[in-house]
């Protein structure tokens, strides 16, 4: 066991495509078992960070360590839910079959051996996210919240230690957002999972997250939500006049890091 239980360590990492730089000089460490919200305006490079961690694109500069090794594609210890995962209603596959692909979908051929183990693991994962009632129905015909639970079951079925989610809440209404976040948080705590979740609106996450990773204007900043999401901290980090507003219900809104005001999906 390593002494510093960090799931992800970045030292001077820069990201970009070709000659276009997206952000640079990112140095941070994400403790194992922690829940991190990745925030920032559209196009700031939040998904790019996920793609770096997944090993889908290389870092332009610096060093990135994911679960104690350089990022590599197909790392089975990483569970992933991509952005805008809403399935075509005609997509003819059951939720259960989709979850099963999380175990051996990357293997060649057809499933011959281990059918019972796979089926037991799939059942367990479906039960863990509470999707038992509709796992046998066609995936595309389910509601956004139901699909999101099955995506989660699929990401978790291989027993990963790191869970990456790109805007898993964006298609959900406020109530479903709260339930899904609660579910993710519970499962993560029980399994000591490290969770990185990209969100457009931090509010449903605030009760559950340990830290936020803010990405804007080519820079990354990490810290506890109370330290980072303040007018002073964000203004200083981004040398701009950034305002953090609070409404009557205690919801926070960040203004000034993008051209237009950021609208949470409320």
């Amino acid at each position: 066991m390593k002494e510093s239980a960090a799931a992800i360590v970045a030292r001077g990492v820069a990201a970009g495509y070709g000659s276009r730089s997206i952000w640079a000089d990112a140095t941070f460490s994400i403790p194992a078992g922690s829940f991190t919200a990745i925030l920032g305006p559209n196009g700031a490079g939040k998904s790019t960070l996920i793609r770096l961690i997944l090993g889908q694109i290389p870092a332009v500069a610096g060093q990135l360590e994911v679960l104690g090794e350089p990022p590599r594609r197909g790392n089975p210890k990483i569970g992933y839910i991509p952005q805008a995962s809403i399935f075509d209603p005609e997509l003819s596959i059951r939720g259960r079959d989709f979850v099963g692909l999380g175990i051996d979908g990357h293997r060649w051929g057809v499933r011959l051996a281990d059918r019972e183990q796979v089926s037991a693991a799939v059942d367990a994962s479906i039960a863990a996210v509470g999707a038992g009632d509709y796992a046998d129905r066609q995936l595309g015909r389910l509601s956004g919240g139901e699909q999101q639970r099955l995506l989660l079951a699929q990401a978790l079925v291989g027993q990963p230690t790191l869970l990456l989610m790109d805007e898993p809440l964006s298609h959900l209404d406020v109530r479903n957002q709260a339930t899904i976040v609660q579910l993710i948080s519970q499962i993560a705590r029980r399994r000591r999972l490290t969770v990185l979740l990209i969100a457009h609106d931090v509010n449903p996450l605030l009760p559950h997250i340990d830290q936020v990773l803010y990405i804007a204007q080519g820079k990354l900043a990490m810290g506890r939500p109370v330290d980072i999401i303040t007018s002073e901290a964000l203004s200083e980090i981004y040398s701009a006049s950034v305002e953090v507003l609070k409404d009557r219900l205690g919801r926070v809104f960040v203004v000034g890091l993008e051209e237009e005001v950021s609208h949470p999906h409320a």
């Binding site: 594609r73 059951r94 079959d97 989709f98 990357h106 293997r107």
Partner: protein, 281 residues
């Protein structure tokens, strides 16, 4: 009641049943993935682009199947490399398709007097199949099925969710190209039975019906195969006792079944609700 033993009295009918059976199994199986991946138009385009290759081969005094295979595989690999998500992919494919048909017309005009050859390519020539063709179809059929089984899981994974599959290390672009190459071979086989223009009826329609009955992939695939077999066998049998072409009966059976299934859907849905309500009470 006509004497059904007559069906197998002639060699040409036996060959037609043999080749038709092989093609139906391959078409029914690959059709599931064509529908799942939303590649129906690509499948259609492959056959049309293949037409240019086939007529070109006729001009060069080669076997049209060789030209067909070369063009469908070339086009398949190119379409596969475009990827599944590229916006405007269908427009690009359509542009190439139109040009390929234009080439086909040129090749036909260059080879005056062989309009029957072109007609057979366009609408199928299953009653003109010899033993050699059957063996070639069998070999190609086994190859396509073995290839499909080999890529089954990662192909299913990348067809359902390309992003997650890619993150799990599935070579999604390679699979996309590989799948289109397999499809190219399947299309080439199916052209013998239903021709370039009617390929949809064997590759897309059975699968499109099957997925309305089951969203379990293996069940949908087997059902697609069963439907493709039924359309082919029935079509051949009916055509034997009638003066009309086989392709007409196969496509009509496929179309009629699809329409009937879609029309019956509201009724099936109501029955399902009623039985669900009954079990809930």
């Amino acid at each position: 009641m006509p004497d059904l033993t007559q069906l197998f009295h002639y060699d040409f009918m036996v060959h037609a049943f043999e080749a038709g059976t092989i093609v139906a199994i391959v078409a029914g199986a690959i059709g599931y993935f064509v529908v799942l991946r939303g590649s129906a138009f690509a499948a259609h385009a492959l056959s049309h682009i293949g037409f240019a290759g086939a007529t070109g081969a006729v001009v060069l005094a080669l076997n049209p199947i060789i030209g067909l295979l070369a063009f469908t595989i070339g086009a398949g690999v190119a379409i596969g490399a475009l990827g599944n998500r590229l916006r405007g992919r269908d427009v690009t494919i359509g542009i190439v398709l139109a040009w390929a048909l234009g080439l086909g017309v040129l090749f036909i005009s260059l080879y005056r007097g062989y309009a029957t050859e072109a007609y057979a390519l366009l609408f199928g020539q299953i009653l003109g199949i010899n033993t050699g063709d059957v063996v070639a179809t069998l070999v190609a059929g086994i190859l396509t099925l073995v290839a499909l089984v080999a890529v089954y899981r990662p192909l299913l994974f990348s067809s359902v969710d390309e992003d997650v599959a890619s993150a799990r290390g599935v070579p999604v672009t390679g699979l996309s190209i590989g799948f289109m190459a397999i499809l190219a071979v399947a299309v080439t086989e199916a052209v013998q039975v239903v021709g370039v223009l009617l390929i949809f009826a064997l590759i897309v329609t059975p699968a499109a019906i099957a997925i309305r009955f089951s969203s379990r992939p293996p069940v949908a695939i087997l059902l697609g195969i069963a439907l493709a077999l039924a359309f082919t066998w029935l079509g051949l049998a009916i055509a034997f006792y009638s003066p009309h072409p086989v392709s007409f009966f196969i496509t009509t059976l496929a179309f009629a079944t699809y329409v009937a299934v879609r029309l019956a859907e509201p009724i099936r849905e109501r029955l399902r609700r009623r039985s669900a309500a009954a079990t809930a009470v």
